[in-house]
Amino acid sequence: MALDRRAAVAALLKDRGDLLIVSGLGSPTYDVHAASDSDANYYLWGAMGGAALIGLGLAQAQPQRHVLAITGDGEQLMGLGGLATIAVAKPKNLSIVVIDSGHFAETGMQRSHTGCGLDLAAVAAACGFADTAVAADMAAVESLRKKLHRPAEGPRLFVLKVAVENPPRSLPPRDAVFLKNRFRAHLGLSVS
């Protein structure tokens, strides 16, 4: 059984409150945009391997806000070492959600390491994340959604097992400066 990625992300972000979101390049950026655009979203169109770490820097800069990095299996695999860095940094306000199709969706659906059996939630647990889980149905997604709005003991990583599909693209702006300034303005920061 595997989730519909658009339905799962939309359900996860329902009533998102004051969550700050960083999305990994490719399909997760489209999924987050399709769920609903927000000034509190920072969409990546590149910087592969960086989504969770941008989340870490943001979480450390904004300790009163909860930060959610939503990314794909391929993107997180490229930043595998970053899970060690995040585990050691121990942010209580950072959650990573990996939308795991087991494939590199953007480039022709080649099988990824998770598609070959690697378990990213187990990797995160071994690194020392405070909470990890794998969701493969909508009830599990709903319980993760509730968790995101409760305090955590440390960094969390949740895997959404999604079907291998390429839904129509939902394209946010590609201008990284515009997105940066929009995000900072949302936080009341100068946009010079």
């Binding site: 960083v22 590149g46 910087a47 960086g50 770490l53 941008i54 870490l56 450390q60 970053g82 940066k180």
Partner: protein
Amino acid sequence: MNKKRPRSPAAAAETDLAQPWAAKLHRVLKSAGVTHMSYVPDAGHASLIDLFAADPDVISNVLTSEQEGVAIAAGAWLGGKRSVLLLQSSGVGNCINMLSLMAIGRFPLLMLVTMRGEWAEFNPWQVPMGRATEPALNAIGVRTFRAETAEDLVEIAGSAATLAYEADQQIAVLISQRMIGRKVW
């Protein structure tokens, strides 16, 4: 032998440094508003890493690879904070694609790079990346300044911090291997 006077822990931390210039560098970065630091350790940065680690107002992150610090700096800036990245020249090669984020997003970036492979180097494996460091940084849009002496370094770091955090530039300060000194091993 000098008679030792009682010192505050902070003063002791400064005067016992292997690299005395690190104390001035730490003060320059603090006065530029730096509150976040990330690093892959290098012997040349050892004293500065210790000073930041002992600083309750600065969050330090140890990295598994240098490009993580580039991404962290972008995230910190999104959240309104100033982050500095400490690395050695070999780590610059690990950063290249992540630096496209800073260039295209015009994110402030200050990297302090200790050079290897250029002065009294004993390890041939350090030479190719040492040679490629400055051209690679320039190619991806990071402006470089070279510091040859401790006085240079402190002055350049202050200027670089202003260029980065006030003018949204991506800056690497290259700290010459001649200044760091011959590695004892």
